[in-house]
């Protein structure tokens, strides 16, 4: 026991309080850092020295700096994020599709009705050219509206396809960052606390990755994370990461996702995903949008076929009087596929509105008489020509509206549910890991007083020395 040991204790106490204040300021400064887990110093008494049969304390030391985190909650958060990001894609893109299919903007059914009404009108004055002009104009509105819906949907599909590539690039960036952080965590593992910030950062990356694809991960004894896709393709192992890549699929014209092993051999893993934004994007691109395009094709195809079938049996105003056969002119351009993309009026009709037929008969001079063709075309709107002859055109378009409405609504509801549960989980995580300024301020004061008390020890020791020196 000596005065100098008081100085020594004071020195240790000072540095412990300083470390305490530094950790506290680190916490305070990261109060708004996403994913940050608060840290705290762990103080421990120094082993006592035995002096004259007495065990005397030697003061304090900082044993380690711990990170407040609950691995179980973080794992649940990652799973939830996987779901949340997938639902975000659905909600976002169903809303976009809804915008494209919304009757308020595209007026599809409106134009369809106008078109058939124009034929009704023509039936009241079947030789009129003015009414033929109206048929032509309404036909053009109809085809344009269908073409626009098609290109709207197609553009969305292309946008999603580009998004696939972008997300894959992001995943590669994340996995390589995780690999780098793994290395630093391994190097830091020998010391007591340096790895804390690396772990926080790495876990934030894992959370981001979980939002994109479904993954499995676990940590080894040094805290390094190994990450696999849920179907078992390695993405990160220790300091090593594997890249994903996209290649063109020749049949669809869209990207496929491939996993590359070290020899550079690619494996197609497009169908391997079960969750996350990438899965959402793929499902939107390859499933939902294609279904709506197929619906539009069915609609356009049925209108083209039925109208042409009737129209071809008609006699037009340009009918050659020497023939008694119908003119066999198509109203819509004949197509064999891609109906909604290419739907248009036939060249004959576009060239001359007199090529529009309203009559199914001719008189002795070869002049068309009557309005039967116009009537028959007008009545197509009430015929069940869609869904294998079970729906009328209007039933079909309203069922499309109903379907996108339901899908969009369900997506919004599910997203809201995911957000709410995510919020609950985040609250729980914050409960453990978040920084509370009140708490940190209290700690700061606590360490500040401890520091001041330790400096007082110096003064006391100093006084003791002074008194001794004066006694000499």
């Amino acid at each position: 026991m000596s005065i100098s040991s008081i100085l020594n204790i004071a020195k240790n106490a000072l540095s412990a309080s300083q470390i305490g204040m530094q950790v506290t300021s680190h916490n305070i400064s990261n109060v708004n850092t996403k994913g940050y887990a608060r840290q705290a110093p762990v103080f421990e008494e120094l082993s006592p020295s035995s002096i004259g049969g007495l065990l005397l304390g030697n003061g304090v030391k900082v044993d380690s700096i711990v990170r407040y985190a609950d691995k179980y909650i973080e794992k649940q958060l990652n799973l939830k994020n996987n779901e949340l990001q997938e639902q975000t894609i659905y909600s976002q893109y169903f809303e976009r599709i809804e915008g494209i299919l919304n009757e308020d903007s595209n007026k599809l059914t409106n134009y369809i009705t106008d078109f058939f009404n124009a034929w009704h009108e023509l039936s009241t004055d079947p030789q009129s050219t003015a009414l033929r002009q109206a048929v032509l104009a309404s036909g053009q509105n109809l085809t344009r509206s269908i073409n626009n819906i098609y290109s709207g949907l197609k553009n969305l599909q292309i946008e999603l396809n580009n998004k696939v590539k972008f997300e894959i690039e992001n995943i590669n960036r994340i996995t390589s960052s995780i690999a780098d952080l793994n290395k630093m965590i391994f190097e830091g593992a020998s010391s007591t606390s340096e790895a804390n910030d690396y772990i926080t950062k790495r876990n934030e990356y894992i959370k981001e990755l979980s939002g994109k694809i479904d993954i499995n991960y676990f940590e080894d004894e040094y805290g390094r994370a190994t990450i696999l896709t849920s179907k078992g393709k390695a993405l990160v192992d220790g300091g090593q990461s594997w890249n994903l890549d996209v290649i063109d699929d020749e049949t669809t014209g869209f990207y496929k996702i491939v996993w590359k092993d070290f020899s550079g051999k690619s494996t197609d893993i497009t169908d391997n995903f079960q969750g996350g934004s990438v899965y959402g994007i793929l499902r939107m691109r390859d499933g939902e949008i294609n279904n709506f395009i197929a619906d539009m094709d069915e609609l356009a195809g049925a209108i083209i076929t039925e109208v042409n079938k009737v129209h071809k049996n008609g006699f037009t105003l340009t009918h050659d009087p020497s023939s008694t056969e119908p003119d066999n002119i198509s109203f819509f351009k004949e197509l064999t596929g891609n109906y909604s993309k290419d739907m248009a009026l036939s060249d004959d009709v576009l060239k001359d509105i007199k090529n529009i037929a309203a009559s199914d008969n001719i008189d002795e001079n070869g002049k068309p008489i009557g309005n039967v063709i116009a009537l028959n075309i007008a009545s197509i709107i009430d015929q069940k020509i869609l869904n294998s002859n079970s729906s009328t055109i209007v039933e079909f378009t309203s069922s499309i509206t109903n379907r996108i409405g339901q899908l969009s609504r369900a997506a919004k509801d599910t997203l809201e549910y995911s957000q709410d549960t995510m919020q609950i989980m985040e609250k729980q995580r914050e409960d453990v890991s978040g920084v509370s300024l009140d708490e940190e301020m209290a700690n700061l004061i606590k360490f500040q007083y401890a520091f001041q008390a330790a400096t007082r020890l110096f003064t006391v020791a100093d006084n003791l020395f002074q008194s001794l020196l004066e006694a000499v």
């Binding site: 109060v31 169903f94 009241t124 309203s398 509206t401 409405g405 609504r409 919020q423 920084v435």
Partner: protein
């Protein structure tokens, strides 16, 4: 439970934007007067709305067609009344000229009157409504009656008339054909031509016998007149039925898709109150900070 600072702010912004979104929607609803702004607001209402809008539009189209038929009906009415007058006049001439007090000269001049009547009848037969010859049957753009030398008249139209839809799957004939009015059963023009010939030839017997034809013609014309009368009143009934139906549809659409303004405004007020309360409480919470007490 530890409540941390960043969570406090994050929850605040999240809830604020949620309420703001609701306020926004409520405002758009009031501005547009619509309850269903996009299909996802109410998919069933939105899709039935489409069906009803089509119903409304098609109904309007049928009304247009019916109004055309109504105009057409009044044209027929005028025309056939005209025919009746001319035939009555011809009958008077025939009765007068059949009398033994008349001589060849008066009969000759009466023949000129009958010629005039035939010409007038041809003019009536060639009546046009817009581009349509109303008595031509299906050959609406062909002149239906041509007056030949010797006052015979040829009919160029068809026996039948076209039909048009006046409702789903209900058709109505667009009027009456010239064949039915002038030619079939009793050919008015032949009767008048025979009368004219008899007058010119001073053939009293012929004049008398043409009276039978004139009576038959008048009878036929009266039948046609009453046919057109019922035709027009039938069309008018349809029109008023359609107009009531329009209102019904309008009402259904409105109740399904339009807002109840008082309800919408109340809802809007409730939301803005919540929004203000939210801002107020945040301002209060901000004061509760340990830093305010550390000097």
């Amino acid at each position: 439970m530890r409540v941390t600072d960043s969570l406090k702010y994050e929850l605040f912004t999240r809830n604020l934007s949620k309420i703001k979104g609701l306020v926004d929607t409520a405002q758009t609803r009031i501005a547009s007067g619509k309850k269903v702004l996009s299909p996802s607001d109410d998919p069933v209402a939105a899709s039935s709305g489409i069906g009803l809008e089509v119903e409304k539009k098609m109904n309007l189209q049928y009304e247009r067609t019916l109004n055309k038929l109504k105009t057409l009906g009044s044209f027929y009415d005028t025309a056939i009344t005209g025919i009746h007058e001319l035939l009555t006049k011809a009958k008077e001439i025939a009765i007068t000229q059949a009398s033994s007090t008349m001589d060849a000269a008066t009969r000759k001049s009466s023949a000129e009157q009958i010629k005039g009547i035939i010409e007038q009848l041809v003019t009536i037969g060639n009546t046009k409504l817009g581009n349509t010859y109303i008595f031509a049957g299906e050959k609406t753009d062909t002149v239906p009656f041509t007056l030949n030398n010797g006052y015979t008249v040829t009919y160029n139209g068809t026996e039948d008339v076209s039909s048009v839809f006046i409702d789903r799957a209900t058709k109505e004939e667009s009027g009456i054909s010239g064949n039915r009015v002038f030619i079939s059963d009793t050919n008015i023009f032949t009767v008048l031509k025979d009368l004219k010939d008899a007058l010119e030839e001073n053939n009293v017997e012929g004049i008398r016998s043409s009276l039978d034809g004139l009576n038959a013609s008048l009878e036929k014309t009266e039948t046609n007149l009453s046919y057109i009368g019922t035709y027009v009143s039938r069309i008018e009934d349809y029109i008023s039925y359609k107009e009531t139906r329009d209102l019904d549809i309008e009402e259904v659409i409105s109740s399904m898709l339009d807002i109840d303004i008082t309800q919408a405004v109340t809802e809007f007020n409730m939301l803005t109150n919540a929004y203000q309360a939210m801002l107020y409480s945040m301002a209060k919470i901000q004061d509760l900070n340990v830093l305010n007490y550390l000097k």
